[in-house]
C-alpha cells in the first residue's frame, strides 16, 4: 500500500469548446491537507466536481485509496469515503439538526422498509456528540434549521461532513459566506480533521486561511495546475504571482 489516498492523471473536462480543466495531475497523501487556490474560473470547482463525480469527466483517470475508480455519481463517491461540503448547501430547511446530519443514513429502532422506525434519541445523542467534537455551537438542535443563521447552517453542513468523514474530506469554499467568528469555528473543525489524520482538499480564496490550515498549496490557472508548493517554501506574494500568471507559464504536476 502506498500512502497516496487520491491521485488524478490527465483529468480533463470540456464544456462544449471550453476547456474548464486540462490534464490535471494531482496527488494527495494520507493525512495531508491541501489547498486548491486560483482565480474565478481557474477550474477549482470543476476539478472537485470531477473527483466527486457530480459531473462526468471528459478524459483522465482517478485513483482513490489504491485503486482506479469511476464513480457513477456523488453518492458512490460518498460511499467510497469521500465526504464533500458543496458550495450550495445540501440541507433540508424544514428538518432539525439530527435529521439533517443523518439525511440518507438514518439510524433505526426497527427496520420495516420505508416505514422503518427512526431511532430519534440515538441520532440526537450522536448529533450532540458530533457537534461537541467539532466544537459547533447550535442553540437548539431540535429546531428546523430554517430559523438558523447562514453560519450555523454551514456549521451543520460541515459537522455532517466531519462526523462521517472516513477517508477524504473536500470543502468547496466553506467559509465564503461566513462572519469572522463563524469562520473561526469552521477552521477549528478543519484543525480537528488534521488531528484525526483525515486528509482534506480545501478550496479557498482566503490566503491567510490557506497558510493557516494546510500543508501544501496547489494553484490552478486557466484550467491547468500551474504550481504545487509546500507551505514552508512559499509565501503569499509567491502564490499570488502564480494565480495571476506572473510566474508559472508551464503546467506543473501537483
Amino acid at each position: 500500500m502506498s500512502d497516496i489516498i487520491l491521485e488524478t492523471r490527465g483529468l480533463s473536462k470540456r464544456y462544449g469548446g471550453v476547456h474548464a480543466l486540462e490534464d490535471a495531475n494531482f496527488i494527495l497523501r494520507k493525512g495531508e491537507h491541501v489547498a486548491v487556490v486560483g482565480d474565478n474560473g481557474a477550474g477549482k470547482s470543476t476539478f472537485v466536481r470531477q473527483v466527486t463525480a457530480v459531473e462526468q469527466r471528459s478524459a483522465g483517470h482517478v485513483f482513490f485509496d489504491g485503486q482506479e475508480v469511476d464513480f457513477a455519481g456523488p453518492l458512490e463517491a460518498r460511499e467510497a469515503g469521500i465526504e464533500t461540503v458543496f458550495q450550495t448547501l445540501a440541507l433540508a430547511d424544514d428538518l432539525d439538526v439530527p435529521s439533517n446530519l443523518f439525511l440518507g443514513r438514518e439510524l433505526y429502532k426497527f427496520r420495516m422498509g420505508p416505514f422503518s422506525i427512526l431511532d430519534r434519541k440515538a441520532m440526537r445523542d450522536r448529533t450532540l456528540e458530533a457537534l461537541k467534537t467539532t466544537a459547533v455551537k447550535i442553540p437548539n438542535v431540535d429546531n428546523p434549521i430554517r430559523n438558523m443563521s447562514g453560519g450555523q447552517r454551514q456549521c451543520v453542513s460541515i459537522a455532517r461532513t466531519a462526523a462521517f468523514a472516513s477517508k477524504l474530506v473536500i470543502m468547496d469554499e466553506p467559509t465564503a459566506a461566513l462572519g469572522v467568528q463563524e469562520t473561526a469555528q469552521v477552521e477549528n473543525i478543519i484543525r480537528g480533521l488534521k488531528e484525526r489524520d483525515i486528509p482534506m482538499i480545501l478550496i479557498s480564496h482566503n490566503l491567510r486561511q490557506v497558510f493557516d490550515l494546510v500543508d501544501r498549496i496547489v494553484v490552478f490557472r486557466r484550467g491547468r495546475i500551474v504550481a504545487s508548493l509546500n507551505k514552508d517554501e512559499t509565501d503569499g506574494n509567491d502564490i499570488v504571482s502564480y494565480i495571476t500568471g506572473v510566474k508559472g507559464g508551464e503546467p506543473a504536476n501537483a
Binding site: 445540501a90 433540508a92 422503518s116
Partner: protein
C-alpha cells in the same frame, strides 16, 4: 432568534422564546369558530350549539351534533390524510375526488347481491359472470387496487416525466372521472351485500378516519418515510445529494394517497348503499382546503396530520353551525372560501413575523 448570540463562547438559547407549534393556532381558530356559533345561537336562536338543551337526554354536550360534526367530514378527511403527505412532500393531488368516483363504481360492482326481494338483482353488473354475493374482501381489494394503480400512475408521471404534479393529477382527475362514467354507462350501481354495507355504517367512517389519522401521524413523525416526505418538500436537491431515491419515494407517496382515496370510496359507497359516477366531485378541493386550513404549507416541508384533522374539524363545525343557525348552504360555501384564504394569509403573516422576530 434575537436572543441568541453567535460565536464560539457558546450560544444562549431561551426556551421560552421557542415558536409555538402552528397547530395551536388552528386549534384556537377552531375554538373561536365554535364560540361564535355558540354566542350567535344563544343570542338569536335561544339555543346552544354545543351543549345539550333537551330534557329528554341527560348529557352535558349535544352528542348528536358532535357526532355529525365529525361524521360529515370523515370521508373527505380520509382523503385529506393522503393529500397532506403529498403536499408536505411538495406535490399536489387533484385526482382524489375522481379516484373516489371511479373506485366507488368499480368496487361496488364487485359487491352486489344476486337476489333483491326474491328477484334477480336488476342492477347487477357481473350477473352474467356469476360474480355476485362475493365475500367482502373482493370489492375492498379491487377498490384498493384501483386506487393504488391510479396513485402509481400519478407518482410515476410526477417522478419520472418531471411534469408538474398539478398537471399530472389534473390529467388523472379527468381520466378517472371518465372511467367512472364509462364503467356502467352512467348508471348508478346499487344493492351491495350486507357485509359490504357494514363498512360505512353508522359511525364506522369516524372510526376509520380517526384510526388512520393516528396511524399516519405516527408514520409521518417516527418513520423514515415521514422524515423523507418533509425532506423532499423542503429541499429535493439536498435529498438527492444525500443519496435518497427521491423518485421511488414520490411514487410511494402518490400510491398511498391513491389508496386512501380508494378507501374513502369504499366507505362512501357502503354508507350510501350505492355508487354513482358523480361521486366525490370537488372532494379533492375540500381535502386540500382542510390541509391548508390546518397549516400545511403548499410550498412543502411544513405541516402535520394534527393540523389536517383540526382543519377537517373546522370544516365540520362550519357545516353544522350553518345548519344549526338554519342558514342556507350558499352562505356555507361563501364562508368556507373566505376561511381558506384567511387561513393562508394568517399563516404567511405568522411566518414573516417569526422570520423577523
Amino acid at each position: 432568534m434575537s436572543t441568541t448570540t453567535h460565536g464560539l463562547g457558546g450560544l444562549k438559547y431561551d426556551p421560552s422564546k421557542k415558536a409555538r407549534a402552528p397547530e395551536w393556532n388552528v386549534f384556537f381558530a377552531l375554538v373561536g369558530i365554535i364560540l361564535i356559533f355558540e354566542l350567535v345561537g344563544r343570542i338569536f336562536m335561544g339555543d346552544s350549539f354545543l351543549f345539550n338543551t333537551r330534557d329528554t337526554v341527560d348529557t352535558l354536550f349535544n352528542h348528536q351534533r358532535l357526532q355529525i360534526i365529525i361524521l360529515q367530514v370523515s370521508i373527505t378527511g380520509i382523503i385529506a390524510l393522503g393529500v397532506t403527505q403529498v403536499i408536505i412532500s411538495g406535490g399536489i393531488d387533484l385526482s382524489s375526488g375522481s379516484i373516489v368516483g371511479a373506485t366507488a363504481m368499480i368496487a361496488m360492482s364487485f359487491a352486489q347481491v344476486a337476489m333483491v326481494n326474491g328477484n334477480p338483482n336488476p342492477k347487477a353488473i357481473f350477473a352474467a359472470q356469476g360474480w355476485v354475493d362475493l365475500p367482502v374482501l373482493v370489492p375492498v381489494a379491487v377498490g384498493l387496487a384501483c386506487g393504488a394503480v391510479a396513485g402509481f400512475i400519478n407518482g410515476a408521471l410526477v417522478a419520472y416525466t418531471r411534469i408538474p404534479p398539478f398537471i399530472a393529477t389534473l390529467g388523472m382527475m379527468v381520466t378517472a372521472r371518465g372511467i367512472a362514467k364509462w364503467w356502467s354507462k352512467g348508471n348508478p350501481i346499487s344493492f351491495p351485500t350486507d357485509s359490504y354495507a357494514t363498512i360505512g355504517k353508522g359511525m364506522m367512517p369516524v372510526i376509520i378516519f380517526v384510526s388512520l389519522a393516528v396511524l399516519f401521524h405516527l408514520i409521518l413523525t417516527y418513520t423514515r418515510y415521514g422524515k423523507h416526505c418533509y425532506g423532499i418538500g423542503s429541499n429535493e436537491q439536498a435529498m438527492r445529494m444525500s443519496g435518497i431515491n427521491v423518485e421511488k419515494m414520490k411514487v410511494l407517496i402518490y400510491v398511498i394517497a391513491g389508496l386512501l382515496s380508494a378507501l374513502a370510496a369504499v366507505v362512501l359507497s357502503s354508507k350510501n348503499l350505492t355508487a354513482q359516477a358523480g361521486m366525490g366531485v370537488m372532494y379533492e378541493l375540500d381535502a386540500i382546503a382542510m390541509a391548508v386550513i390546518g397549516g400545511i404549507s403548499l410550498q412543502g416541508g411544513r405541516g402535520s396530520i394534527i393540523g389536517t384533522v383540526l382543519g377537517a374539524l373546522i370544516f365540520g363545525v362550519i357545516i353544522s353551525g350553518f345548519t344549526f343557525l338554519k342558514l342556507d348552504a350558499y352562505y356555507q360555501e361563501m364562508v368556507k372560501g373566505v376561511i381558506i384564504v384567511a387561513a393562508v394569509v394568517l399563516d404567511q403573516w405568522r411566518q414573516k413575523g417569526r422570520a423577523r422576530g
